[in-house]
Amino acid sequence: MKRIPPSFFLTFLLLALSLLTSCGSSNSSPDSSSPTNYIENKGSDTIVNLALAWAEKYQGEHPDVRISVTGGGSGTGIAALVNGTVDLANASRKIKDEETSEAQANGVTPVEHIIARDAIAVIVNPNNPVNELTLQQISDIYSGKYTNWQEVGGEDRPIVRLSRETNSGTHVYFLETVLRLGSKEDKTLFSTNTLLLPSSEGIISEVRDNPNAIGYDGLGYVPKDLKMIAIAKEAGGEYVLPSIATVNDKTYAIARDLYMYTNGEPAGIIKDYLDWILSDEAQVIVAELGFVPAIK
C-alpha cells in the first residue's frame, strides 16, 4: 500500500482578543438637586416612539424636568388619565363619549390637543399605469374582490397585496379606515393571500421590485422612487395625492389626527411641554419619524 505522507492541515480559528478597556471616568453629575418636575406620559403605541423622541430632546434642554413615557394603547392611556395616574394621555383616536362621562364622574376634564397627524400612503411600482383609486376600490383589492389590475384600469397583471403584520398599529388603522371604510359593523377582512411583511422595509423593497404589488405605509416613510396613489373618498370624488398640505386640510382620505389629552387646561410644566411640542423644533421630529407635522 502506498504510504501517504502525513499531511498536516491546520484549520485554526483565530480568536481575536477583545481588549476590555475599562475607562475610569469620574461620574460626578452636575445636577445635584433631583428633578422635582415630573411628567407621566402614557398611551397609544402608534405615538410612543414620537413621544419618546420628544421627551428625550426636551429633557436634554430642560434637565430639571423628568418625563416618563410608556405605551399600552390609546385606551390604556385614557383610562390612566381618568384614574388620575398620568398627566398626559397619548391617543391615536378621539376620546369616546363614555370615556368622557367616566372621566367627569371621576372629577377629571379631558382636554384635547392635536400634536401631529398620521397619514397612510398607498404605493405601487412606478411602472404600474394606475394613478388613482377610490377608497372602495382599494378596499375591494385588499379584501380579494379584485385580483387583476385590469379591473381597476391597469395592465393585465395579477395583484399582489402587501400589508404590515397584524400587530402593527398601521395594519389595524388601515383595516378600519380603508377595508371597512370606517364602518364598525363591517366585518371585511384582508384576503388570506395578502402578504404580511414584518417591516416597512420589506413592503418598500417588494413594491420597488415587483410591478404587480400594491402596498401601504406611513407617508413619511415612502421613498421618492415609488408611486403614491391619488385617492378619492367616493366614486366621482376628487382624487387627492397624499402630502403635508392635503393631510392638514383633510382632503386626503387615509389620515388621522394624533392627540394628547390633559386633565383640564394645561398649566405649569405640562403647558410648557405642550407648547414646545407644537413648536417648529419639536415638529421637525414628527416629520423625521414618518408622521405629518400639525400645522396650526
Binding site: S7, T166, T192, N193, L196, N212, A213
Partner: protein, 298 residues
C-alpha cells in the same frame, strides 16, 4: 494519595453524570412550560375553530391549519433539495474527491453551515426572490419555494457533515472487499458503503429536516407570510406562512396571558411534538436496522 485520587474521580464522575442528566431535565422543563402556557388554548378556543382555515388573531380567528400546512410544505421542499444534494456532497467528499479537494471542500461546507440565517434572508429578498419571480413568471417572488431553496441551503451543511462522518467511519475493509469482488466504484458506494452507513445517514437527514422546520428568520423574510392553506405542490409557488414565523412575528406584541398568547404557545407545542415524532421515528428505524445487522453478524 490514593484517597484524593478516588475523591477526584468521584467528583468528576458526578459532574459528568449531572451534565448528562441536565439535558433530560431541560427538555422536561421546556415541555412542561409549553404545556402550561399552551394547554389553556383548548379551553378557550374550541377544536373546530382551532383546526380551521383562517388565521387572523386580532379578530379571534385562530385556525392553525394554514400555518401547519405552510411549515410542512416549506420543510418538504427544503428536504427535497437538501437530502439528495447533501448526501451527494457527502459521498463525493468522503468517497470520490482527491485528498486536496476534500481538504478544501470540508471546511467550506462547515463555513456555509455557520452563515447567519438573517444574511441568507437578505440574499433571498434581494437576489433570489426577484430572480424567481421573473424566471418562473410568478406574481411575486416571496413564495414557499424561495423559503425552501434557502432552507435547503441551510440544511445542506448539517446533512453533509453528519453523513460524511458516517460514511467515513465505514471500515475500509468493506470497500476493499467489494472491489475485490469486482464491483465498480459506483456499485461499491451504492450497495456497500451507503447501506453500511445507513443509520448515520438517516440521522443526518433527520437533523437536516429538524434544522429546516425550526428555522425562523429566513422564512419570515422570504415566504410572504400569507396564511393561505397549502393544498398541493402548486402551493410551493405561492406565499405561505409558517408556524415559526407566526410565533416570531406575533409574540412580541401579544398581551401576556391572552387567548392569542396561549394559541402561540400551542403552536410551539405542535412544533415540539412534530420534531419529537420525527426523532422517535428516526431512532426506531435506526434501532431496528441495527438489530437486524447484529442478527446477521451473529
Amino acid at each position: 494519595m490514593e484517597k484524593s485520587l478516588s475523591w477526584r474521580e468521584f467528583i468528576i464522575t458526578r459532574l459528568i453524570q449531572s451534565s448528562g442528566y441536565s439535558a433530560i431535565l431541560f427538555v422536561a422543563l421546556i415541555f412542561f412550560f409549553l404545556l402550561r402556557e399552551g394547554l389553556p388554548t383548548l379551553g378557550e378556543v374550541d377544536a373546530s375553530s382551532l383546526f380551521n382555515f383562517r388565521w387572523y388573531p386580532i379578530e379571534s380567528y385562530f385556525g392553525i391549519l394554514p400555518l401547519l400546512s405552510g411549515s410542512l410544505i416549506v420543510t418538504l421542499g427544503a428536504a427535497l433539495i437538501a437530502v439528495p444534494f447533501g448526501i451527494g456532497t457527502a459521498i463525493y467528499i468522503s468517497e470520490i474527491a482527491p485528498r486536496w479537494m476534500r481538504e478544501i471542500l470540508k471546511p467550506l461546507v462547515e463555513l456555509l453551515g455557520g452563515l447567519p440565517s438573517v444574511v441568507l434572508g437578505f440574499l433571498g429578498i434581494l437576489v433570489l426572490s426577484p430572480f424567481l419571480r421573473v424566471f418562473l413568471d410568478l406574481p411575486t417572488g416571496l413564495t414557499a419555494l424561495t423559503g425552501s431553496l434557502l432552507l435547503g441551503g441551510i440544511a445542506v451543511p448539517t446533512v453533509v457533515s453528519v453523513a460524511e462522518d458516517a460514511l467515513d467511519s465505514v471500515p475500509r475493509a468493506y470497500r476493499e472487499g467489494a472491489w475485490a469482488l469486482g464491483a465498480t466504484k459506483w456499485q461499491t458506494i451504492w450497495r456497500v458503503t451507503l447501506p453500511a452507513a445507513k443509520s448515520g445517514v438517516l440521522t443526518a437527514v433527520m437533523l437536516g429536516v429538524g434544522r429546516a422546520i425550526g428555522e425562523t428568520m429566513t422564512v419570515m423574510m422570504v415566504t410572504g407570510n400569507a396564511p393561505v392553506l397549502a393544498t398541493g405542490l402548486g402551493s410551493l409557488f405561492s406565499p405561505v406562512r409558517t408556524m415559526t414565523a407566526t410565533i416570531a412575528a406575533e409574540m412580541g406584541e401579544v398581551a401576556n396571558g391572552s387567548t392569542h398568547y396561549h394559541v402561540l404557545f400551542f403552536i410551539g407545542m405542535v412544533l415540539f411534538i412534530i420534531s419529537l415524532v420525527v426523532n422517535v421515528i428516526a431512532s426506531s428505524v435506526v434501532f431496528r436496522a441495527k438489530k437486524r445487522a447484529e442478527r446477521i453478524l451473529s
